[in-house]
């Protein structure tokens, strides 16, 4: 019985203690439920985000660059579908065999094979290796034929930049290529949108307009597993193509410029004298920007780099030349404006002039006799301009030259490489060379030699501003949102000149007229330096001024020898220049031509103007019709 009793007592203890435990259990379970509640209900959003962050990964794709079109809507920098060849190592059955097959199919170098093997060891098995960035059509066909045998190989289509006019626009557009680390870091927008394989503008407008052209990345959202492998695509967000940019240039004129300068070093620029639109801007020789898209080969690069005609230099903007006689209209204008001379003022040219024991030669050994301004301009008499410059002084000449844009960048905001050039005055020499100005230097400045350095585009702008009656214009290469028609441009120019007086570059409009007439005679009257290149049809008739810039001092002996162009070493030959505007009756366009080491301006440069004006003026009507951008479908 005792045992029974103790048994009952024992079970009481057990039951009582069990009750205590059970109460504790309920408390603990409640605690766990509370924890579940806090994680799953209260903090659900936070953990849902974290879980999505875990599983969703975004892949940015290279953005598609905006097209660049010429004035007529022709694409001059577009995009092309390009086939690349990728290997996905994970899917490859026999890597060595595959490499061997690809090597023979695509003619891959041993170096490339080594590179692929290295990449394969570095990357995750599901990351693709790019074997070829740009398969040619025949390669693509070959690969497609053998695709059954090439397990793990995938042709991939990508969008790549394309320049359909190849070297035609290189100096304007520049080109795109793979950026280096610095380039990615220094440009905010590139940094933000950078993805491997993306190309950025390296030069020219492609570089300066990067922000507008670049476009936004397309985004692929993938679900990935814990090891980063893509499981499936969740979303594809299309990127926006970069902005379309319309240039003021006319491909036909550009083409003709390239044709005229074929195998020559030089530059042609054509400008609308009212709107400042640059119609053509070609620097010769040029090179094919398409070569840079997928990395230029060493051989091709050396070929471009070592070309003695220097294709890498944009001569229109960065080439500095003595203006030679093309400066004479400015010298004449400056003298007229300062009342140094009038139309009756005459100088006797004997072929040379002496100053402090130094002889200054006119290009015509026999001399021009008594010459007025008109005749001096027509025949480009140096003696006349020596005398005018002497009377005018370099400082007053400098003021006029500056007004017309010499010594200042023309398109500086768009082209990093553009040079300012130089138009000297006495202060400049003192400050920069530490010596006083010498009168003899004034004389040679008066015929565009000496310190003066100009870019071809500056000369074009200078001519345009003489042609439009002496009004300052802002040259541009990109069409604004609202391009002006000719009439509107003229009206706005006159209106602006009333509001802002410094747009007027003259004191007396008569003086501009005198200079214009002098230039007219130079081209259209007998004995004019470019008389042979004239066009009599008033529709095309133009006025211009030749220039022949010495690249070295002509020695006495050389002067006596009077060598023919072919007899002088290329490097020592004069640069040939020509500036002109037309049609003379109702001017619209100005141009400047320079042929490096081309000899005399009248022989080498002026004939090109004839060809150009024919084309430009023929296309004038078309251009006016195209002024409204909306009519263009690209």
């Amino acid at each position: 019985m005792i045992k029974e009793n103790s048994g009952i007592r024992k079970s009481d203890v057990i039951n009582r203690r069990m009750f205590i435990i059970s109460a504790a259990k309920i408390v603990v379970f409640t605690g766990i439920v509370a924890r579940l509640f806090s994680l799953q209900i209260n903090e659900n959003k936070k953990y849902l985000t974290l879980s999505d962050k875990n599983r969703i990964r975004e892949w940015k794709l290279p953005p598609t660059r905006g097209n660049i079109v010429d004035y007529f809507g022709n694409i001059i920098a577009g995009n092309l579908k390009v086939y690349q060849l990728h290997i996905i190592p994970e899917q490859v059955e026999n890597f060595n065999y595959l490499l061997l097959r690809l090597k023979t199919l695509l003619n891959l170098s041993d170096k490339k094979i080594q590179k692929i093997i290295k990449l394969k060891n570095k990357l995750k098995p599901w990351d693709s290796i790019i074997v070829s960035e740009n398969l040619s059509w025949s390669q693509f066909l070959k690969i497609n034929n053998y695709l059954y045998d090439l397990v793990g190989v995938k042709p991939v289509m990508i969008i790549s930049r394309n320049y359909p006019f190849s070297e035609m626009y290189t100096h304007i557009l520049g080109y795109v290529s793979q950026p280096n680390e610095e380039e990615v870091l220094e440009n905010e927008i590139v940094k933000e949108r950078f993805v491997p394989g993306m190309k950025i503008g390296k030069l020219g407008l492609e570089k300066t307009l990067e922000k507008q052209l670049i476009g936004t990345n397309a985004i692929q959202r993938y679900e990935v597993n814990a090891y980063g492998k893509r499981i499936n695509q969740l979303e594809y967000q299309k990127g926006l193509q970069g902005n379309k940019i319309r240039l003021t240039v006319d491909t036909e004129v550009q083409k003709l410029s390239a044709q005229l300068l074929l195998n020559k070093a030089g530059s042609i620029s054509v400008m609308d004298i009212y709107t400042g639109d640059i119609i053509a801007m070609y620097s010769s020789p040029s090179y094919d920007p398409n070569l840079f898209l997928f990395g230029i080969s060493q051989d091709e690069w050396q070929l471009i780099r070592n070309n003695p005609l220097k294709p890498l230099i944009n001569k229109t903007l960065s080439g500095l030349y003595s203006p030679g006689s093309t400066i004479k209209p400015i010298v004449a204008l400056s003298a007229l404006e300062n009342n140094i001379i009038n139309t009756n003022f005459k100088v006797k040219c004997t072929g040379k002039t002496e100053l402090y024991g130094q002889t200054f030669h006119c290009w015509k050994e026999k001399g021009h006799g008594f010459v007025s301004l008109k005749n001096a301009m027509k025949q480009s008499c140096d003696t006349y301009f020596y005398e005018v410059a002497r009377l005018l002084g370099v400082d007053r000449l400098n003021v006029t030259a500056k007004k017309f844009g010499l010594g200042e960048k023309v398109l500086g905001e768009y082209f990093d490489s553009e040079k300012k050039g130089l138009f000297p005055n006495t202060n400049w020499k003192k400050n920069n060379l530490g010596r006083g100005w010498v009168l003899g230097e004034t004389l040679i400045t008066g015929i565009g030699q000496g310190y003066t350095q100009t870019t071809p585009l500056q000369l074009c702008l200078m001519t345009a501003q003489i042609a439009n009656g002496g009004y300052k214009i802002k040259p541009k290469i990109i069409v604004n949102d609202d391009p002006l028609s000719l009439e509107d441009a003229k009206i706005s120019m006159t209106l602006q000149s009333l509001q802002t007086p410094n747009i007027r570059l003259f004191n007396d409009p008569k003086n501009i007229k005198i200079v214009q007439e002098a230039m007219f005679s130079s081209t259209n009257e007998q004995f004019g330096t470019s008389y042979k290149s004239r066009i009599d049809d008033p529709k095309y008739q133009f006025a211009g001024k030749t220039g022949t810039a010495q690249v070295k001092r002509i020695s006495k002996r050389e002067r006596e020898l009077d060598l023919k162009l072919e007899q002088i070493p290329y490097k020592d030959r004069d640069h040939a220049l020509y500036v002109a505007y037309g049609p003379y009756k109702n001017p619209r366009y100005a141009l400047s031509i320079i042929v490096e080491h081309g000899g005399s301006g009248s022989k080498a440069a002026a004939p090109m103007a004839k060809e150009l004006f024919k084309l430009i003026i023929d296309r004038d009507e078309l251009r006016d019709k195209q002024s409204n951008f909306e009519n263009i479908n690209i």
């Binding site: 079970s11 039951n15 203690r17 435990i21 059970s22 439920v33 509640f37 799953q40 903090e43 814990a226």
Partner: protein
């Protein structure tokens, strides 16, 4: 005397069937089905290795449970000490010839499946102590010799298990043993004293922990300390559970597990997957199912006439409760990571075997609840 004899007499097979606790049985079946579905989900929605293996284990161990249920609980009383010694022998065997995996040696290869004797010890220690307290006189419970003996019974297997090393299981064995001490009537003050002693010696104990165990504790205190290393499991587990929300991401749609962000999703972190896919509602539902099972077992203990049955049922109910609490606290980031499976749900034969044996004994206790054991 007659009445007692009649109570102790064997029941017929039909009577036994009538006496089965069907509520408990249905809950166990339900839990088994849920565990199979979850295992199917861990296999990525296909019937692969884990699902097949889990299924085959259920097919073997569920009948084993029923088989045990039809055995009179008296036999378990009779063989309790023997069972304990047998498992001790297995532990001894494992510590010399056991299979090694990921730095610990706790398994033996039985060709059909790999047995982890320490899991069986969870049951054996309850059985052994239940028998001890069933037999001991109440006045002797708090004698020094009794307490020392009981502590020895608990400590011997723990030494084996800790040296494997397996901190989680040894803690669970200790807790299973201690609860019987508590139920057996050991004075409350002893528990209080030893708890205080434990707290004081805690820094000392920590200095004895293996580096990886220390790391787990540090990681528990601050999982963001090393988010890709030691803290990874806790962080990913919390993300999975938290992102489940109210009603979960849906069956087979748990991204955390499906995309391999969850480590050990078949075993210790099975609840995380369940919770991610079925959300708060599902998790509470599962918890309710477990609660029903636990209270059903406690009820069986309460109606049992023999103290052995009582002690075993209460002890087993408590240990199931402890397994659940430790496992859930771990995956919810409330406790450091100690390897401890979720009963029936987790993949793993030994744990399921032990749990099924336990259920079997409990069912047997129900069938024979009117019996007393001498």
């Amino acid at each position: 005397m007659f009445q007692r004899d009649s109570l102790n007499s064997e029941l017929s097979f039909l009577q036994k069937i009538k006496e089965i606790d069907y509520t408990l049985l249905i809950c166990i079946i339900l839990l088994s089905i849920i565990s199979l579905l979850v295992m199917y989900s861990t296999d990525g929605g296909e019937i692969l290795y884990h699902t097949k293996s889990h299924f085959s284990k259920l097919v073997v161990f569920f009948p084993l449970m029923l088989f045990i249920a039809f055995f009179n609980i008296r036999y378990w009383h009779t063989f309790a000490y023997l069972f304990y010694f047998l498992v001790i022998l297995l532990l001894l065997y494992v510590s010399f010839f056991g299979l090694k995996a990921s730095g610990s040696q706790r398994w033996m290869d039985l060709y059909l499946f790999v047995l982890q004797p320490s899991e069986l010890m969870k049951i054996a220690v309850i059985l052994c102590l239940a028998k001890y307290y069933h037999r001991i006189k109440t006045e002797n419970v708090n004698t020094l010799t009794s307490i020392m003996l009981v502590l020895t019974i608990i400590i011997i297997p723990i030494i084996f298990v800790i040296s494997q090393p397996d901190l989680g299981t040894s803690v669970l064995i200790a807790l299973s043993g201690l609860i019987i001490l508590w139920l057996g009537g050991v004075k409350v003050k002893y528990f209080v004293y030893s708890f205080i002693t434990f707290l004081i010696s805690l820094p000392f104990i920590i200095s004895f922990l293996k580096p990886y165990q220390k790391l787990r504790i540090l990681t528990f205190l601050d999982p963001d300390r090393d988010p890709l290393g030691a803290g990874y499991q806790i962080i990913q587990s919390k993300i999975a559970i938290g992102s489940g929300g109210l009603d979960g991401k849906g069956f087979l749609k748990g991204t955390q597990s499906y995309l391999d962000f969850l480590p050990e999703k078949h075993t210790d972190f099975i609840f995380t997957l369940f919770s991610e896919e079925f959300g708060f509602i599902g998790s509470v539902g599962l918890l309710i199912l477990y609660t029903i099972i636990i209270f059903r077992i406690i009820r069986i203990g309460a109606i049992s006439r023999s103290n052995f049955s009582k002690l075993f049922c209460f002890g087993f109910a408590f240990s199931i409760f402890i397994y659940i609490v430790v496992n859930l606290s771990m995956v919810l980031g409330l406790l450091p990571i100690v390897g401890s499976p979720l009963p029936i749900m987790s993949y793993g034969g030994s744990s399921m075997l032990a749990t099924m044996i336990g259920f079997g004994i409990v069912l047997s206790a129900k069938i024979n609840h009117r019996q007393t054991i001498a």
